[in-house]
């Protein structure tokens, strides 16, 4: 079962979510502040970080940036604000998904599983390493390199890139991407896709403003290539 670190300042939420997840068999550690959470992170080595956006002192967005700087740990934002601004800020900081409070444990767990799930290779018998321009995508090792240098990608970014590059030049709508990458089968949020695409472009494109790998088709969605 995945190990989850929960950073949440409100004691009842912290205890409630911890209790719920523990009952479902997760190993859960909690922290009340961002600073404490970062300290626990090094020692606990969780599989996933559940992060409240509104924290005293160092806020969730700052914690998220700090974690992203050094690791590809999956991060899910736990936010009391479903308002556009907060969601987008959280996603831009590198979160893989977000959950609006209040949420049932089953919803939280489903999201955790979706983020942690490894992408299945739709190609089947492809060679393990594919080359697209300067990009080398290793589907078996789940790594991506550009010009021989490995790129650190968050789980959602990696999943998105693997999904798009598995079918080059095929256009996927945001809705399709949400379903395949985030497994949001309904009321999915297209901002997740847009924010993730932006982050991915910043990492793999030569000039993010004029993308070569991940192209936008206005009104339809995104596609990989043609290079």
């Amino acid at each position: 079962m995945p190990r989850v670190l929960l950073i949440e300042d409100d004691p009842s939420v912290r205890e409630g979510v911890e209790l719920g997840l523990r009952r479902r068999g997760h190993e859960v550690r909690t922290a009340a502040t961002g600073e404490a959470g970062l300290a626990v992170l090094r020692e606990f080595r969780p599989d996933l970080l559940l992060l409240d956006l509104m924290l005293p002192g160092m806020n969730g967005v700052q914690v998220c940036r700090r974690v992203r700087d050094t690791s590809q740990l999956p991060i899910i934002m736990l936010t009391a604000r479903g308002d556009d601004f907060d969601v987008v800020v959280g996603l831009e900081a590198g979160a893989d998904d977000y959950i609006v409070k209040p949420a049932r444990t089953e919803v939280i767990e489903a999201r955790i599983r979706a983020v942690l799930r490894r992408i299945e290779d739709p190609g089947g018998t492809r060679p393990a390493v594919e080359f697209h321009g300067e990009l080398a995508v290793d589907r078996a090792g789940l790594t991506v390199a550009k010009n021989g240098e490995r790129i650190a990608l968050a789980p959602s970014e990696l999943k998105l890139l693997l999904h798009l590059s598995a079918a080059p030049e095929q256009v996927f709508s945001r809705q399709q991407l949400l379903e395949h990458v985030w497994e949001h089968s309904f009321h999915g949020d297209a901002r997740l896709v847009d924010a993730c695409v932006r982050r991915l472009r910043n990492k793999i494109e030569d000039t993010p403003g004029d993308p070569r790998y991940i192209q936008t088709l206005r009104g339809f969605g995104y596609r990989f290539g043609p290079l």
Binding site: D10, S12, V13, R14, E15, G16, V17, L19, G20, R23, A80, R81, G82, D83, D84, V100, K101, P102, A103, R104, T105, E106, I108, S173, R174, Q175, S185, F186, H187, G188, D189, A190, R191, G219, F220, G221
Partner: protein
């Protein structure tokens, strides 16, 4: 929004009888009446003066001439004619034509013995007893005015007869008044030529006065228009102490009062909205903890004694409802604060509806029937459209009766989504309120499974798409909700 169907600002054309036209016309009318009256009076006075002077001169001169008449009776025709010619020559102010009548004798200074200008009336007056000073008459013949003078010749100290006894000989003088007429005509022309420029000159103060009145009126109109468009800080520049300035000041005071009330109302409304939003927000955090453990409660309820188990299940169920209510309240607050954004995507409408139904496990064909036209691509916010369909179908299942029919088709460039049920329909008095917040069709049923905000949120979501949603009853029973969204 009601504000949106405000008609586009019309270009106002000058009306045929606008204030300016009326003011100018009134001014001109006054000027015309003034000019006309003055001219008419002057004309009459001048005309009389001219004519009277001519008449008096002529009559006096003629009478004097007649007194110098040297005639022997009975009349010597040639002698008389010579006398007449002499008199005619001495006519004042102009030569006359002189006629003499004595019984049947007609003598004249001209070629014709009798004049056609002389009227029987003048003859009668001249020969009337006692009329020794002569009389005159103005006659117009063939468009030419003539002055005719009749003076009877009298005996002067003759044979013991009293003085001024008429001799029976009457002398008539006929004088052409054409010259005087020309003078008078020239005067009329002068009056006219003077009046027209006066009228033109009057146009200037007329226009100035009209402008003086119209400028504040126009400013008032502009200001009222501007206020109507919601710019409540509109004020008019009020100066002077006339009625228009008073009007402007009154307008300004009213506008200020209105602005104050509206500002206060807006503030109160904003406070109320923020309160709803803040309350919902504050409720989320405790709910987040509670909702996360409801499963624990539900799972363990089986092992508890029956009363405790019921209490635990009740809390779990109510927590779920409360979470839905808070979520809906937050959503409504976002709409009120205009913070709700549309994230559109091009999607297949039928596919969207199908997913909504499958995800909610509304797949029992006995309860849900679908008629979904495939291949309609629409620009929708998938999350919001999902909310719309889910709310309408959920509502139909809860309050209507199965089977619920969901239809999707295209009509006139719009995506039409129709949700119909086979229930009792919506009572007529409820129908106008179904989209109101927290409106309960049955007051006794104070709480239903929904939050009471579902249809209000549905409507907001549809409006966000630029579409409409209407509720109606079908003639064969059951309610039908129709959503139309532009493609």
């Amino acid at each position: 929004m009601p504000g949106d169907d405000r008609p586009a600002r019309r270009r106002r054309l000058p009306r045929p009888f606008g204030l300016r036209t009326r003011l100018v016309l009134a001014f001109l009318l006054v000027a015309a009446v003034g000019c006309g009256t003055t001219a008419a009076l002057t004309y009459r006075a001048a005309r009389n003066a001219i004519l009277e002077q001519t008449q008096d001169t002529a009559v006096t001169a003629f009478r004097q001439q007649v007194e110098t008449l040297n005639v022997q009776l009975p009349v010597d025709h040639d002698g008389l004619q010579n006398e007449l010619r002499r008199i005619a020559r001495q006519g004042k102010p102009r030569p006359w034509r002189v006629y003499a009548e004595y019984g049947d004798v007609r003598v004249s200074s001209t070629d014709r013995p009798a004049s056609t200008v002389l009227t029987p009336e003048l003859r009668r007056r001249a020969t009337a007893p006692g009329a020794t000073h002569g009389s005159f008459q103005r006659v117009v013949r063939n468009g030419t005015p003539y002055l005719t003078v009749a003076v009877p010749a009298v005996f002067g100290n003759f044979r013991g007869l009293p003085e001024d006894h008429p001799t029976g000989l009457v002398l008539y003088a006929v004088m052409d008044l054409g010259e005087e007429e020309a003078d008078i005509e020239a005067m009329v022309l002068a009056a006219r030529d003077g009046a027209l420029p006066a009228l033109l000159v009057a146009l200037v103060p007329a226009l100035l006065a009209a402008r003086g009145v119209l400028r504040p009126v126009r400013e008032l109109r502009r200001a009222a228009h501007s206020m109507g468009r919601g710019r409540l800080d509109t004020r008019i520049h009020a100066k002077g102490s006339d009625e228009l300035a008073d009007l402007a000041r009154t307008f300004n005071e009213s506008a200020a009062a209105l602005e104050r009330s509206v500002t206060e109302l807006r503030r109160a409304e904003a406070r109320a909205r923020r309160f709803a939003s803040d309350v919902s927000h504050e409720l989320r955090t405790p709910l987040a903890g509670m909702l996360a453990v409801t499963e624990v409660l539900d799972e363990d309820a089986g092992t508890l004694d029956s009363d405790t188990a019921r209490a635990v299940r009740l809390i779990s169920a109510e927590t779920g409802k409360l979470a839905v209510l808070v979520e809906d309240l937050m959503e409504i607050s976002r709409f009120d604060a205009r913070a709700a954004e549309l994230h559109t995507d091009e999607v297949d409408a039928a596919e969207m509806v199908r997913k909504t139904l499958i995800n909610r496990h509304w797949t029992d064909p006995e309860r849900i029937a679908t008629e979904l036209a495939d291949g309609i691509r629409a620009r929708l916010d998938p999350r919001r459209f999902d909310v719309v369909v889910a709310n309408l179908v959920g509502n139909a299942l809860r309050h209507g009766g199965p089977p619920v029919t969901v239809r999707v088709y295209e009509e006139g460039g719009r995506l039409v989504t129709e949700v119909a049920d086979r229930g009792p329909g919506i009572p007529d008095d409820v129908l106008p309120h179904v989209f109101d917040r927290f409106y309960k069709g049955d007051p006794a049923r104070t709480r239903s499974a929904g939050s009471g905000l579902g249809l209000a949120i549905t409507q907001e979501n549809v409006h966000l798409h630029g579409g409409t949603v209407v509720a109606a009853n079908r003639p064969d029973g059951g309610a039908v909700f129709t959503v139309r969204i532009p493609l």
